[in-house]
């Protein structure tokens, strides 16, 4: 039992960090742009296919291809922002929700026609590492370290760079930031791009060890919503911690009951947090 607990805890922590990166993208966009990006899952899935083709067609190592996928995510974010989000940014929340939902439909519809909904996987492995009762594929360990590096990079960017300060200023009070000469339009576009870049990075990392279809992003988007609520809306670092909590839950719940109960417990927690502490476990009390 102890061995199973330890193994499950390690598995949960490793995958939770990757979930955290995906959720950081969602929460950053909400925190700065105040848009709930319903195309988040589609972008995660698109990144999986981006990595697949860079590996299988261009012959790149997945970890060399990964920055290109992330860069593609950034550019896609700019495009989506310019076409669909910018125009509804001051409209009621429903308009931006519908706009990103439409983008989601366009991406899924087009990509389904191209890739079909058949499963794909990247034939790549680094072997496994064992320590006591725990054996973990090295790809998952690399993904978790990469997730920590991405989170640390985002933290330093937001808290140690001038552009990061501008982003935080716009997130705090857009009107005041504009009065201080911060070009809010550019900051919003950049923030949306960084959010989709994080989604793309998470998708590419997941594709190194799990098979995927163009519809795979949906489940990661749902997890991202739970994590965002756990970590506090608009709080990227809270999202990383929320990802860890969700990962640990996914690891430990099956130890005590059937794995089928895991999503039920996750969403019960989601509702409970919304009712009891809507600012999230790691957000400030409102």
């Amino acid at each position: 039992m102890v061995d199973q607990l330890v193994a499950s805890l390690v598995d949960g922590l490793l995958i939770g960090l990757v979930y955290g990166v995906a959720a950081m993208g969602l929460t950053l966009i909400w925190g700065v742009v105040e848009v709930i990006n319903l195309a988040h899952g589609a972008i995660i899935a698109l990144a999986m296919f981006g990595l697949y083709y860079l590996v299988s067609w261009a012959g790149l190592n997945p970890y060399i291809a990964l920055p290109f996928v992330a860069l593609g995510g950034l550019l896609l974010g700019y495009v989506v922002y310019a076409i669909a989000v910018q125009r509804v940014i001051d409209a009621p929340p429903l308009a931006s929700l519908l706009a990103t939902f439409a983008v989601n439909m366009i991406i899924i519809g087009t990509a389904t026609t191209i890739f079909t909904t058949s499963p794909y996987s990247i034939t790549f492995g680094l072997g496994s590492l064992s320590a006591g009762p725990v054996t973990v594929p090295a790809t998952r360990i690399v993904a978790s370290f990469a997730s920590v590096a991405v989170a640390a990079g985002l933290y330093f960017f937001l808290y140690r760079s001038g552009t990061g300060r501008s982003i935080r200023a716009v997130a705090n009070n857009r009107a005041a930031a504009e009065l201080m000469g911060i070009p809010s339009g550019r900051v919003l576009a950049l923030s949306f791009g960084i959010g989709t870049m994080l989604a793309a990075a998470a998708g590419a990392l997941i594709a190194t060890f799990f098979p995927f279809t163009i519809l795979s992003g949906e489940s990661y988007q749902l997890k991202s919503f739970v994590i965002v609520v756990l970590g506090g809306l608009g709080n990227p670092m809270g999202a990383l911690l929320g990802g860890l909590v969700l990962g640990i839950l996914e690891g430990l719940v099956p130890v005590f009951t059937s794995p089928s109960w895991t999503p039920v417990i996750e969403f019960l927690l989601f509702v409970a947090i919304l009712l009891v502490r809507p600012s999230g476990l790691f957000g400030q009390r409102t």
Partner: protein, 440 residues
């Protein structure tokens, strides 16, 4: 003005998405017509009776979770149609040649689409006979439509016993039923290791896999095994870590279960990556597929039940000695013509598609007619052998159409990574190699 502009743009985007979705939907519901390889012109063929054209209707998972298996089944079925048409059609005693043409749609591996597509096949495309979609859940849904419309449906890739226990009278099964899929793996384990006691069962939560797991649980328990893990996973699962940790904690002698190709391959790969030390792994559907070896070392030693393998020994001579009717190509002829056409080794799904066609052909020949009632009567009395094995149906009211004569074999991937070979290891009479046990 600005807000109206914004709203109109949002509506525009939504409409664009709708148009795209409609285009996609339209594309996927457009029928695919596999033309007969020879032109069909009524009254033009030899013999006194001329030519009759028969439409074979079916759906294929061109996309979705069961795409690999379903497309192979389609390949087998289309090869059968081509062979029949190239031979001048199915000959009736009055000289009539029955030529075949196909109508098919993409069911996207989606049960919800199947009933409307089969209704379309029957009512709009005027299909005379039906072949089932791949997988038990989809075939079960399609069987209802076939039965309601009085159309004969030969099922391929539809092993669940329960489909044939609903009182249907027009549905006939090609495969060995699901209840027999993994019971042979338990027999194999017993033959190899009488000290083995513990079996972990982890299976997909769909109709077919659950039927298989329930039958295995019941059989293994009656044989004295302890079922130490019995868990189901959702269709589309990609992360098996939680299940594997449970399995490891239970230290089973054997792991059995799985579901279909995509999840089964991933499960086997992750079992290897997590270093699970079971002596035997036996999974459904995925291992017999030639591309299962693409997962590399994870495939090594994995056992899988197979409805058919290219090494089986069914032959016309064997049929004669068993006093059975023989129909269709030999095993070697099927394998070589399949490989020539598709440039891939046929799997049991491919062979099952062809065999489903042969069963229908045998029914038409035995009835000497394409009349549904006469063909149904002929199918009820069928007892024949093809390259796929023996075929005979239960014709009792309780389980009409259930396959009662076909037997399975069990394969195991043997050799080293990069040069893995599929060997038949059970039953002993069909062995091409000794089983590797323990597997790692």
């Amino acid at each position: 003005m600005s807000r109206i502009g914004h709203v109109s743009r949002v509506v525009g985007v939504l409409l664009g998405a709708g148009v795209l979705a409609a285009c996609q939907g339209g594309a996927s519901t457009a029928p695919s017509t596999a033309a007969a390889s020879q032109p069909v012109a009524s009254g033009s063929a030899g013999g006194g009776g001329g030519t009759k054209s028969v439409v074979i209707g079916f759906t294929v998972a061109q996309t979705g979770a069961t795409n690999v298996e379903s497309v192979r089944q389609q390949h087998g079925l289309e090869l059968w149609m081509e062979d029949v048409n190239n031979a001048g059609g199915i000959r009736l005693s009055d000289g009539t040649s029955v030529m075949l043409s196909a109508k098919s749609y993409d069911d996207e591996s989606n049960t919800d689409r199947v009933q409307s597509l089969y209704t379309t096949l029957i009512n709009e495309d005027k299909a005379d006979f039906l072949i089932s979609p791949y997988s038990s859940g989809l075939a079960d849904a399609a069987a209802v439509i076939a039965e309601q419309n009085g159309k004969i449906m030969i099922t391929a890739g539809a092993a669940s016993d329960s489909t044939y226990m609903k009182g249907f009278t027009q549905v006939y099964q090609t495969y060995t039923p699901a209840s027999h899929y993994l019971t042979g793996a338990a027999d194999l384990l017993k033959s190899l290791d009488t000290s083995a006691q513990k079996i972990a069962i982890v299976h997909e939560n769909d109709k077919f896999s659950t039927d298989v797991a329930n039958a295995l649980t019941s059989y293994a328990t009656s044989e004295g095994y302890d079922i130490v893990v019995d868990e189901g996973y959702d269709t589309g699962t990609t992360d098996f870590a939680a299940f594997i940790n449970k399995i490891s904690a239970a230290s089973p002698d054997a792991i059995m279960g799985g579901g279909h190709f995509a999840d089964g391959s991933t499960f086997a790969k992750q079992l290897f990556e997590k270093g699970v030390n079971a002596k035997m792994i036996a999974l459904l559907v995925a291992p017999p597929e030639p591309t299962f070896a693409d997962i590399g070392d994870g495939a090594q030693g994995v056992v899988g039940p197979s409805q058919w393998e290219p090494t089986v020994k069914f032959s016309e001579a064997a049929a004669q000695s068993a006093n059975l009717t023989w129909i269709g190509p030999s095993v070697d002829e099927f394998v070589s013509s399949y490989m020539a056409k598709y440039n891939e080794e046929p799997s049991y799904h491919s062979a099952g598609g062809y065999a489903a066609g042969l069963i229908l052909q045998a029914g038409i020949q035995a009835a000497d007619s394409i009349d549904t009632a006469k063909v149904r009567q002929a199918l009820d009395g069928l007892d024949l052998m093809t390259f796929f094995g023996r075929t005979k149906f239960d014709i009792t009211a309780e389980s009409h159409g259930l396959q009662v004569a076909h037997d399975m074999v069990y394969i195991q991937w043997q050799g080293s990574s990069g040069s893995l070979e599929k060997q038949v290891v059970w039953p002993e009479a069909a062995q091409t190699a000794q089983p590797k046990y323990p597997l790692r």
